[in-house]
Symmetry: C2
Subunit: 209 residues, 2 copies
């Protein structure tokens, strides 16, 4: 044990993600286990990617706007899911609207059910190819987790929580986030599921004073 | 030894790259060693990224056109070079013109000096922050490699070789390449230095008939 005076802050990683984002799917499925193995705490930061893309001048995902990259991305996803042992179905609708589940995620960001809730929502989108924005789908997941679905959805749809999600998205923009997933470790940005391991290594590295 | 009738083709990877591309720098520096360790032959495929970007509607590199991503890329490069043990200086000119060294690369693609020549050119750009398109710089590298610099540069600037580089770039476009580095293994595309290891694993994997 180090004496408390020289004890460094507990290692943590900020995880900025969107349920509509396919590369966020990979990180949502992987982050809890990989972070725990390195003793890193995950700070879940749901935000809306649509307004970020609009502020960059894009009307949709770059994977929709750039045909060549878009076609490549689905091959890449199939290979990466195979590598990570994750199920994969190319969504028939992309990117899927995720406003309601994102509002619920914001509400649950510090709750013990957050990681499970996020994985189940992501599985619905990228393994089961289903609408994730329908209240009955969100309610189904919350109920399966033993939670009071109606009350949570009502609070998620309340004005206060809606405003908080807009503010969190504005914070993402102010921090120069341009895609998802994005990680921050001690203020340094790491972009993309491909950088999750490097970001966790950085978080777990002792800080030299 | 397998009998020749059932012998599979020697594992190989196509490596499409550009001297102006910072992520190509990482792969140029790494590919010869990592491929050799897995018994994979590298097919060097120099092509011009500028005409590809233009055909996608971009007047320059996306790292120039998208301010947020552009700023991130230089942090990412510094971290990756540190991780790989490579020298790194952010180029004061980006992307650098590379027409002459690319023409020489096309000429040398199957020569024993190719890998050394490419690494030296990349070091000039991304470690020494120097113009790579000046004939005296290209000549300097070739001479250092013990090669007849004048004769090689003359042939590289000949109409036949210029046309071949235009054709190779057109082939890149026809194969839906949208960035560099890009790898192909048995016709499958892998985009980015982040996929070099996966691409080599795929190349080294025995083909099941």
């Amino acid at each position: 044990m180090q004496p408390s005076a020289t004890r460094t802050k507990e290692p943590e990683i900020e995880f900025w993600f969107e349920f509509g984002s396919n590369y966020s799917y990979l990180s949502v499925m992987r982050i809890e286990d990989t972070a725990a193995r390195r003793g890193v705490t995950v700070k879940w930061k749901p935000f809306l990617l649509g307004p970020i893309f609009k502020s960059l001048g894009w009307e949709s995902s770059p994977f929709v706007l750039q045909k060549e990259k878009g076609e490549y991305v689905w091959q890449d996803m199939a290979r990466l899911c195979h590598k990570y042992g994750l199920p994969w179905t190319r969504p028939t609708t992309f990117p899927r609207l995720a406003l309601l589940p994102m509002r619920v995620a914001l509400l649950g960001a510090e709750q013990p059910w957050m990681a499970d809730y996020c994985r189940m929502t992501m599985m619905l989108n990228f393994a089961e190819d289903q609408d994730i924005n329908a209240p009955e789908q969100v309610a189904g997941i919350l109920t399966e987790l033993g939670l009071p679905a109606g009350r949570i959805i009502d609070e998620a749809q309340g004005e206060a929580n809606k405003l908080l999600l807009r503010q969190q998205t504005e914070t993402a923009r102010a921090r120069s986030i341009f895609g998802a997933p994005t990680f921050f470790v001690r203020g340094e940005m790491y972009w993309g599921n491909d950088r999750l391991d490097d970001a966790l290594s950085a978080a777990a590295r002792p800080v030299t004073a």
